[in-house]
Amino acid sequence: MHLEGEFTVAAPRLTVWQAVHDPALLARCVPGCEEAAQIGENSYRAVVKAKVGPISARFTLVVDIVEEEAPDRLRIKAQGEEGSRASMLTAESELALSDDGDGRTRVTWASDVNLSGRLGKYGLGLMKKKAESLSAEFVTAFSRRVETGEVVE
């Protein structure tokens, strides 16, 4: 499943760059994120709950920053499974930051998400819609928190 988008944050690039490295902040922006912690220099662990109608799932994800060129580009791999391991999620995402004038930052992102196991067999179109709406929720929350200066570090 390929997803992509771009959005603008009313904050300078460095601030945004720090924000995307801040697990506590991200945890508050990712819809359904129940906990997040840094577990290595470029490694994070998160528990995310997602629900579509009567179907719900809780994934434990390990997120690794696999490449970065501060403060422009970031490549992230996420991998996780349900507690019951009945399904597995992998995602590879790329994020690019650029100045958008007036102290604003443009964020361009693309993500290839793959869900296998019990949740991967049905409803592709719906999953994509759900992922898109979760992305949109994240963008709104992220922009608001960064713009209101909620960056921890």
């Binding site: 579509v52 109608g53 009567p54 179907i55 009945a86 019990r118 949740l119 067999k121 049905y122 409803g123 592709l124 179109g125 719906l126 994509k128 819609k129 759900k130 709406s133």
Partner: protein, 275 residues
């Protein structure tokens, strides 16, 4: 492990659902058990609504019709009360899945599940239906046009069940349900419900967004212009503008957007032919 409970009254059923946080209501089971078999859902209990007498049957009310939540698709597909501008409901019910599954599935279950590609939603939105939701606090009515809030999300609260669908009394004007599907019985790629309404029409589009798509403004603009192809095209375009279709194995989003004005125009033309 889901145990099946079989309450005899609505009060008992909603009481069980309130008491057992991991229980799910089960009406016909056609979708729910399929999801269980695919291990998509887990529930401690299935609260079967089949044995609740008050959920069965179609009755005339002061304002129109009350269709009990446990009414099977097969019953609706053969229901003589669904005439005129309600005949589209009968047509839609007869196109769900197949003869055998229509003996199982219910309107309450289908509306409760709110699958965007299922057949009832567009028809009920077009027919100005209200959904009767019942919980421990009692019953409430929600307009079908407001009912679906997001993909598989509705105004139905956990613990509430769809006890009935309310429709205004049938008027002796034509209505039609058009559905594109790959093979008979498949979920709709796109569907259109259309009913005559004086010198205008009521139209709802299905399977092209999280819920049925209807625009009273666009309907008002079309009033009196049902023979004007330009106005009809503008009407179809207005509905397509409100659509947010998925890309899936039944078709791309672009295809569905392209279909909407064509299917809407065809449905309006069907009505003209039936007058």
């Amino acid at each position: 492990m889901s145990f099946v409970l079989s309450p005899r009254t609505v009060e008992e059923a909603v009481g069980l659902l309130a008491e057992l946080p991991d229980a799910l209501p089960m009406s016909g089971g056609a979708s729910l058990v399929a999801m269980k078999n695919a291990r998509l859902i887990e529930a401690s209990h299935f609260v079967s609504l089949a044995g609740i007498a008050s959920l069965h049957g179609i009755t005339a009310t002061d304002t129109g019709l009350r269709i009990g939540g446990m009414t099977r698709h097969a019953q609706l597909a053969a229901c003589d009360l669904l005439t005129g501008d309600l005949s589209m409901l009968r047509q839609a019910a007869g196109q769900i899945a197949n003869r055998v599954v229509r003996n199982m599935g219910t309107i309450g279950g289908a509306v409760g599940n709110a699958d965007p590609a299922a057949d009832y939603l567009a028809v009920l939105a077009c027919g100005d239906a209200h959904v009767e939701l019942t919980g421990t606090e009692g019953s409430r009515l929600v307009a079908m046009t407001d009912y679906v809030t997001d993909w598989y999300e509705t105004l139905r609260e956990p613990g509430e069940i769809v006890t009935a669908i309310h429709l205004p009394a049938a008027r002796p004007v034509p209505s039609v349900y058009r559905k594109l599907c790959r093979v008979p019985g498949d979920y709709a790629t796109a569907s259109v419900a259309c009913a005559s309404d004086g010198d205008g029409v009521r139209v709802a589009v299905g399977a092209c967004g999280h819920g049925p798509i209807r625009s009273r403004e666009a309907e008002a603009a079309l009033r009196g212009n049902l023979r004007d192809p330009v106005a009809i095209a503008a009407f179809g375009a207005a509905l397509a503008d409100l659509a947010d279709p998925v890309d899936d194995v039944r078709g791309t989003s672009e295809f569905r957007l392209r279909l909407i004005p064509r299917m809407v125009a065809a449905a309006i033309s069907d009505l003209e032919g039936k007058r």
